[in-house]
């Protein structure tokens, strides 16, 4: 291992850590980044790549919303529109949402929060980024070569037999991104079990860690199933092996079972880490120990377990037995229990706390409201009768965007603001951050709330043209989307600005509890702590 010490440039040295080398100044050439095994640098690599994919996916959303301003299909043809919503879904789900919080903040924070020098397998961690980038490039190539039009779900037999687009490239992209996700989960599980600092007992772990532990279990148990399913689709497409082709005696519905066995739990891969972030932020900005720590911890595991038993609720109209649907319906209702436990505990934490409304907290509070709407409409949708009525309408689209944008991305934004001073050592302009959070909150509602209404009125998803009476709702939605897009651009600008001009952050700008704030610098040194911390405090001892 190289023992070269790089001297930090004078302008990069903080006032209070002049003698130490932070992980950012431990090397300046490209090689020191692309071959790094430092979990913090890998987190930065992920942050940059995910930002690219987020705006790429967002671009497709812009085109979708532009087309839907008018009832006629005048901006693009139906085929082109199919590609737009497919690529929006593929990019956002596989190349942004699934990796998002675990790959960026999990990578950065799991070792810091439990008092370890790194994740258990640093080289596998780097490998996971390369796998992700390889998958991302395949997905990107699929877009460049003309796109995919199957919908992000790749339903057979359309995807395996009939579609004339780059299905294999896009599906293999998801396959490699999936293995990246498996390796991240594997790394977290080994790290959380075996690398905790002395005194860091299971019930002294931050809830962010519990959430990532539950997420990792899903990543390991779910992702390989979709991986083999993708291989079967590719083989079906290349060689006509018959497994998913009804003409040859195969069963396209089997694909849906295998696909949703992963892809429903994948929703919890997106939302659980976000819930972990919210638990950290709520307790910090209430300056009060979180209410019901054990309940929140176990509700994460509960969601992970229940998440595997509900996939059939995507298939109520697929012709599956009504009794099967009934069981899936009941099991889906059960997910509401651990979810509600979290929401009630967060709200109870606010009670009699000294609440301050900094940007991360605004996102966290936004999360609670939006997640509640998304979650409750999920209960509507778990109900057989209601589901059949609104199946494949904009009601569904609105519901899952409340969970994925209103939940997962709100949590991502909360995390970005909360840990930005820790990651970069700089403070962002607080006023702008608060303004942006309101713009996003307002833009989000204006985009997606009308979709509940228009969906309930019967507008189906995935069509580029629609009857005129739905136009007003679509105009509102498109107007909201432009505000939402602006809301995401503002943080992009001020975060970049803050890297050079932002005020230098102290080690603990929020007066938060936790090893990453109390024992590590901002930005942390290369191996996180000067010496292995010994934990003698209870968790969230505010």
């Amino acid at each position: 291992m190289s023992t070269a010490v790089f001297k930090p440039r004078p302008d990069q040295m903080g006032d209070n850590n002049e003698k130490k080398t932070s992980y950012l100044t431990a090397g300046f050439n490209i090689r020191s980044w692309l071959l790094t095994v430092d979990h913090k640098r890998i987190a930065i690599l992920y942050l940059l790549s995910l930002t690219f994919f987020f705006f790429l996916g967002g671009m497709f959303a812009v085109l979708i919303r532009l087309e839907l301003i008018t009832p006629a299909g005048d901006l693009m043809q139906a085929e082109t529109y199919n590609k737009m919503f497919t690529m929006h879904g593929v990019v956002m789900v596989f190349f942004f949402l699934i990796p998002s919080i675990p790959a960026v903040f999990g990578n950065f924070l799991v070792p810091l929060m439990i008092g370890a020098k790194d994740l258990a397998f640093p080289r596998i961690n780097l490998l996971s980024w390369y796998l992700f980038m390889f998958g991302g490039m395949l997905g990107f190539a699929a877009i460049i070569f003309g796109g995919v039009d199957t919908g992000w779900t790749f339903y057979t037999p359309y995807s395996s037999t009939y579609a004339n687009s780059n299905v294999i490239l896009a599906a293999l992209g998801a396959f490699f991104a999936g293995f990246s996700s498996i390796l991240t989960g594997l790394n977290f599980i080994a790290t959380i079990h075996k690398m905790r600092a002395p005194g860091m007992t299971w019930f002294r772990m931050p809830l962010f860690i519990w959430a990532h532990y539950a997420t990792s279990i899903i990543q390991i148990l779910g992702t390989p199933v979709v991986a083999i399913t993708i291989i079967l689709v590719a083989l079906e497409r290349l060689f006509h092996i018959g497994i998913f082709d009804p003409k040859l005696g195969g069963d396209p519905i089997l694909f849906q079972h295998l696909f949703w066995f992963y892809s429903h739990p994948a929703v919890y891969i997106m939302i659980l880490p976000s819930m972990g972030v919210i638990s950290e932020v709520i307790t910090c900005f209430s300056k009060k120990k979180i209410f019901g720590y054990e309940f929140i911890a176990f509700s994460s595991l509960g969601i992970a377990v229940l998440g595997f038993l509900v996939w059939g609720h995507h298939m109520y109209t697929s012709g599956q037995s009504i009794y099967v649907s009934l069981v899936f319906s009941v099991l889906t209702f059960l997910v509401a229990i651990p979810s509600a436990i979290k929401v009630f505990n967060w709200t109870a934490t606010l009670y009699k706390g000294s609440v301050s409304y900094d940007a991360p907290m605004l996102y966290a509070i936004g999360f609670i409201g939006l997640f509640t709407i998304g979650g409750l409409t999920g209960v509507f949708l778990a109900t057989l009768g209601v589901n059949v009525h609104v199946h494949d309408t904009y009601f569904i689209v609105a519901h899952f965007h409340y969970i994925m944008v209103g939940g997962a991305i709100m949590g991502y934004m909360a995390a970005l603001h909360f840990w930005w001073p820790k990651i970069t050592g700089r403070l962002y302009p607080e006023v702008w951050a608060r303004v942006a959070s309101f713009v996003i909150f307002f833009g989000f509602h204006l985009t997606f709330f009308p979709q509940f209404i228009v969906g309930y009125l019967g507008m189906p998803r995935r069509y580029h043209a629609y009857p005129e009476e739905f136009q007003i709702w679509n105009i509102l939605s498109s107007a909201g989307a432009s505000i939402l897009g602006l809301g995401y651009l503002i943080p992009l600008i001020y975060f970049i600005w803050s890297l050079k001009y932002g005020e230098r952050a102290s080690a603990n700008p929020w007066n938060a509890k936790g090893l990453e704030w109390e024992k590590a610098d901002s930005p942390p040194t290369q191996f996180n702590f000067d010496k292995t911390p010994i934990v003698d405090q209870e968790v969230y001892d505010y």
Binding site: H193, A227, F239
Partner: protein, 214 residues
């Protein structure tokens, strides 16, 4: 310089912690593998229930003799792998290398026999796809049987090939004196992987070759 010092990676406190973390990581990886093959086994169960006759017909064209030989070869390779781990724990370099090489040879024999079987099926027109030829009843369903046969044994063979690659790496490392009684993690963990791949075959063999034969 003793191997003990060089083997400890910077982010672990001691070798015990490193060993435990690596072992847990490997088990988690194997769980992932089970689910990976699990998707195929689930599909197999569904279609076997739908098309029992076609699956019988298809399975009768598989070579039970070669399949049995291969099963024996693979079980023997598990034994030699277990011996390699045993001698790694004792720190006997020459015996580690001997048993790793034996394991490699047995793995290669397995893959060779598998290749012979594949080539027979290929020439008989049993490779699923547009060129699939079946003179008899339930042609499409038999094709599905052969799709499972090729995908399941193919995925298994792919794991064997990757395993053979890792074996070469281990043999080279053992030759460089990297393993002793204090540090033998890679050999032990590879043993877990190798046994896992064996166990997959132990399930594949009866499901594909034996079940429902007359």
């Amino acid at each position: 310089m003793s191997t003990k010092e060089t083997a400890l990676q910077h982010h672990f406190e001691n070798l015990d912690q490193q060993f435990e973390a690596s072992t847990l990581g490997m088990w988690a990886f194997l769980v992932q593998e089970i689910l990976f093959f699990g998707g195929l086994f689930a599909g197999y169960i569904v279609y076997r229930n739908w098309y029992p006759e076609a699956f019988h017909l298809g399975s009768e064209h598989l070579d039970v003799f070669l399949g049995t030989v291969n099963t024996a070869v693979l079980i023997c390779s598990s034994l030699t792998m277990a011996m390699a781990v045993h001698w790694a724990q004792k720190g006997d370099k020459n015996k580690i290398i001997t048993f790793l090489v034996l394991t490699f040879i047995l793995g290669a024999v397995f893959l060779g026999i598998k290749a012979v079987e594949y080539s027979h099926k290929f020439h008989a027109g049993l490779l699923p796809g547009d060129g699939f030829i079946w003179h008899g009843e339930h042609g499409d369903q038999v094709r599905i049987f052969y799709s499972f046969y090729f995908v399941m044994t193919g995925m298994h063979a792919l794991h064997m090939i990757i395993g053979a690659g890792i074996l070469i790496h281990l043999i080279v490392q053992a030759g460089k004196d990297r393993y002793d009684a204090n540090y033998f993690t890679p050999v032990e963990l590879f043993g877990l992987y190798w046994h896992f791949v064996d166990i997959i075959w132990i399930f594949l063999f009866p499901l594909l070759y034996l079940l429902g034969r007359h």
